[in-house]
């Protein structure tokens, strides 16, 4: 009997989980059907604020306080709340590979549901330089040694400073946008009960399919979650 095949996203997550394991990152989980507090307010996105327009949200009929999570950043809040409840202070290091939902028209590069790779590192001396170093190491190990990264200024309500990270892709001879990141906003730490005067750190949340599409040259994001087995067999899979 021949072996079955894992979904390419599972294979990618394994590779990434292993890279981050060696950097000390655990893996955390949270619900996909979230509440307003964890998805927005705790992350410094108050109600009626234009920052809420930055993401197209799916709302739930008959349940005004609930949303399909628009990002995995909600798990940052849940994880830290849980640690504080257990009396565990930073350092914290987690990644969250999880499904998120955006009410956006779909096309080759946009899906209404996709995965993000959230990351959080909080400690007494975690800096933006560490964020750069973490990305450098992740991309070198995942994409290859010739990779280069750069930061551009941006804005997210839950980070300050906020940046966008680009990666230099040798094969295509250009910079590719990967996603947002930054230093966790002190207000966010205060919301979860972590002492912002003592602790600081970074967070990131690039799209996972995008990372995989860049690495393998996959043309269409819709291939990932359409239940099409041909996708599993479209890679010359090398089994160990």
């Amino acid at each position: 009997m021949s072996l079955g095949r894992l979904h390419p996203i599972s294979i990618a997550i394994r590779e990434i989980a292993e890279i981050f394991d060696r950097m000390g990152f655990g893996i955390a989980y949270g619900p996909e059907l979230e509440d307003d507090w964890h998805n927005f307010t705790a992350l410094n996105v108050p109600a009626d604020h234009p920052a809420r327009d930055m993401q197209d949200t799916f709302w739930i009929k008959g349940e005004p306080g609930k949303v399909l999570r628009t990002h995995t950043s909600s798990v940052q809040i849940r994880y830290m709340e849980e640690q504080v409840k257990k009396g565990i202070t930073p350092p914290y290091r987690i990644i969250v590979p999880g499904k998120v939902f955006r009410n956006e028209a779909t096309d080759a590069t946009h899906e209404a549901q996709f995965f993000q790779l959230e990351g959080l590192a909080i400690g007494e001396d975690i800096t933006l330089a560490h964020l750069k170093g973490t990305f450098d190491r992740f991309f070198r190990e995942y994409f290859g040694p010739s990779i280069k990264t750069r930061f551009r200024p941006s804005f997210f309500p839950f980070t300050e400073p906020s940046i966008e990270v680009d990666v230099w892709f040798e094969k295509e001879n250009r910079w590719l946008e990967l996603g947002g990141a930054g230093m966790v906003h002190p207000q966010v730490l205060e919301h979860v009960g972590v002492d912002a005067k003592k602790y600081q750190g970074f967070a990131f949340g690039p799209g996972l399919e995008r990372i995989i599409m860049i690495k393998y040259g996959i043309p269409d994001a819709r291939l990932f979650h359409s239940g099409d087995v041909r996708f599993n067999y479209a890679f010359g899979e090398k089994l160990p």
Binding site: M1, P161, R230, K238
Partner: protein
């Protein structure tokens, strides 16, 4: 926001660098550029800077700081003129929390007409239409310094016509009120939407902070006008725009809370421009400013904090330079900076905001990467590994993993705003998608499986029954001899009776952490991605008798060469050796190979006739290759 480089240029004495250099300067120190055109840049100004940078002055100020070139003159730093004190109009503000400031000027004897060429060009260069000199002037000032403005025809205000002061009110809409906007749309006004009203006639003349009404529209016969420069609460304006589905340049700016101080500068510039191009005299300016803001407190940050957040090594001088270039009033102590941000920089409130200013103006390329300190002990990936261990077992048993959409036709949880109206709910089970995927997989089988294999699929994903979401595992079958059921029992999950169609495993109750804590998921490597065609394929089998010593690879090679690029897959699926029999001379160990060719085009649906051409070519080549070979019909 679209900006014109020619417009930006008027802020500087020396010529600005090229549009490409400007684009890079902004990209690496301020904002993403969405589009670069001929003398135009479309700048992505995010909510934190929408109060000051949705204007040419704001962008010019950024360029001044980034490129270190001083502004010729900063319109927000000059002294404000003393407006004529003659009472021109009376304004009543119902709720000072909703209208933070209202300035109204009465300008008499204007000549409404076309705008001068320079003004038309300026507006067109950023994608705006020219309407008439009064309206254009108000739009120009908004695009120039960020203050939305409006002008009304004074003669259409009831009290003015009666020979006395214009009386306006800024109040919430009452039940049943309607307004016809300047675009000739008649809108029903939900209660609470803020309006500018003609107090005497008790009728709305504008939706505050959003759009003007046709009742007091400026036309070519207008002689006397009222110029409005005001400030409204951001939440009130955002809600109004959303409920009316009316998103304008004005509402975009007000929802991001520009300072009420800006209103005076807007009024100054609007009056100067209007009188210059349309003539007229300013009779008087009313200014209702109920809660004049207190002087903003300073924001303090130490050099140590800046470097400790960025992981940088900036000197006191380098930080000082950033604040100077940004025009921040700074008091420097031995180790700290106390910055009083200018009124338009509403985004500077905490020390981290100043850290960001230093980081971005200096440039993030100046920060060297640093490796995280090593981690004590092993990180907790137990639950993840528990799930992956299950996946490995399923794969070993021949199951292939799929991933499908969470949206469904029916469910317990329904979306208020579904993207696909035929699937407005969240799935309560993985079953439906799994069955549909299996049907499709069966069709694709010849492309990826040998004829003896069949697909067994599984999915692990979240489902949303009314009791609450959980992680579910479902498979298309229970496996050979119920093997999977035994595996599932080993995961600590309850046994289930029945067939595969109804069985579902709730992984949220499985002891995932225990199951995974000492497990290392098997490593898989994905090879290069080979795109597959979406068009239907045609299968052609070719079988032939060969001699005993013939190797399958050699036959396959000939088939491959002759089948050409339409053959997506070629594989041997059967080998048959004829047993020797006393009465059958042919049975002397001769063997037969059967190959399958899966033919498919990347551009279109292949025709039967085309497949036949390929088949015939392959057969001909095989026959010619070796006289002992015999292709079987």
């Amino acid at each position: 926001m679209k900006v014109s480089t020619q417009w930006l240029q008027k802020y500087f004495a020396l010529p600005l660098p090229s549009t490409a250099v400007i684009a890079d300067a902004l990209t690496f120190h301020a904002f993403e550029i969405e589009e670069v055109g001929d003398g135009m840049l479309d700048i992505k100004v995010l909510p934190n800077r929408a109060a000051d940078c949705l204007s040419h002055r704001g962008i010019a100020k950024e360029l001044s700081a980034i490129l270190n070139i001083p502004l010729l003159e900063d319109p927000l730093r000059g002294a404000l003129p003393a407006f004529p004190k003659k009472a021109a109009l009376a304004v009543v503000i119902e709720d000072p929390k909703k209208c933070l400031r209202y300035m109204g000027a009465l300008v008499k004897r204007v000549k409404v007409g076309p705008s001068p060429a320079w003004l038309k060009e300026a507006l067109e260069s950023v994608g705006q239409r020219s309407i008439n000199n009064i309206v254009d002037a108000t739009n120009y000032v908004m695009l120039d310094i960020g203050q939305p403005l409006h002008a009304f025809d004074a003669h259409k205000i009831s009290t003015f016509v009666g020979g006395s002061l214009c009386q306006l009110a800024v109040r919430g809409a009452r039940t049943g009120e309607k307004i016809e906007t300047l675009s000739r749309d008649l809108l029903e006004l939900p209660e609470g939407v803020l309006l500018i009203t003609d107090m005497g006639a008790e009728s709305p003349i504008g939706i505050a902070g959003v759009k003007g009404g046709i009742a007091a529209e400026i036309t070519t016969s207008t002689m006397d006008i009222i110029v409005e420069s005001a400030n409204f609460d951001g939440t009130t304006i955002r809600r109004a725009a959303q409920v009316l589905k009316l998103f304008t340049d004005a509402s975009l700016r007000f929802q991001n809370r520009p300072s009420p101080e800006l209103a005076a500068y807007g009024m100054r510039d609007a009056l100067a421009l209007i009188t210059a191009i349309a003539g007229g005299e300013v009779e008087g300016v009313a200014d209702e400013y109920p809660d004049r803001p207190m002087v903003r407190p300073g924001v303090s940050v130490s050099l140590a904090k800046i470097n400790s957040i960025l992981g940088s090594n900036f000197s006191k001088k380098e930080v000082e330079m950033v604040f100077k270039r940004l025009g921040f009033e700074t008091k420097i102590t031995s180790e700290s900076f106390i910055v009083t941000p200018p009124f338009e920089r509403a985004d500077i409130t905490i020390p981290e905001d100043l850290v960001e200013e230093v980081g971005r103006i200096q440039g993030y390329d100046k920060i060297s990467a640093s490796e995280l300190p090593s981690w004590e002990g092993s990180p907790d990936q137990a639950r993840y590994r528990g799930i992956e261990r299950m996946k490995d077992q399923l794969v070993e048993q021949g199951f292939t993993e799929i991933s499908t959409q969470s949206f469904a036709k029916k469910g317990d949880v329904v979306l208020a705003n579904p993207l696909d109206k035929t699937k407005p709910a969240l799935r309560t089970s993985l079953r439906e998608n799994l069955e549909e995927a299996l049907e499709r997989a069966k069709q694709y089988a010849p492309l990826v499986l040998t004829p003896h294999e069949k697909f067994k699929l599984f999915e692990i994903g979240t489902v949303f029954p009314k009791e609450g979401e959980y992680l579910e595992l479902q498979t298309t079958e229970r496996g050979f001899d119920g093997e999977l059921s035994r595996t599932v029992a080993a995961w600590g999950l309850p046994a289930q009776a029945g067939d595969a169609a109804t069985m579902r495993d709730n992984l949220s109750v499985a002891k995932l952490e225990d199951y995974g804590k000492d497990y290392t998921p098997k490593e898989h490597k994905l090879g290069a991605y080979q795109p597959f065609s979406i068009y239907p394929f045609i299968v052609r089998d070719v079988a032939l008798w060969v001699s005993k010593e013939t190797k399958a690879e050699d036959v396959e090679a000939i088939i491959r060469v002759n089948a050409g690029e339409l053959a997506q897959k070629i594989y041997l699926f059967d080998t048959f050796v004829k047993p020797a029999r006393a009465d059958d001379a042919g049975g002397d160990g001769k063997k037969s190979f059967a190959f399958r060719m899966v033919l498919q085009s990347f551009e279109r649906t292949l025709l039967d006739a085309e497949a036949n051409v390929v088949y015939k070519k392959v057969v001909k080549a095989l026959q010619a290759a070796n006289k002992d070979w015999q292709v079987r019909a």
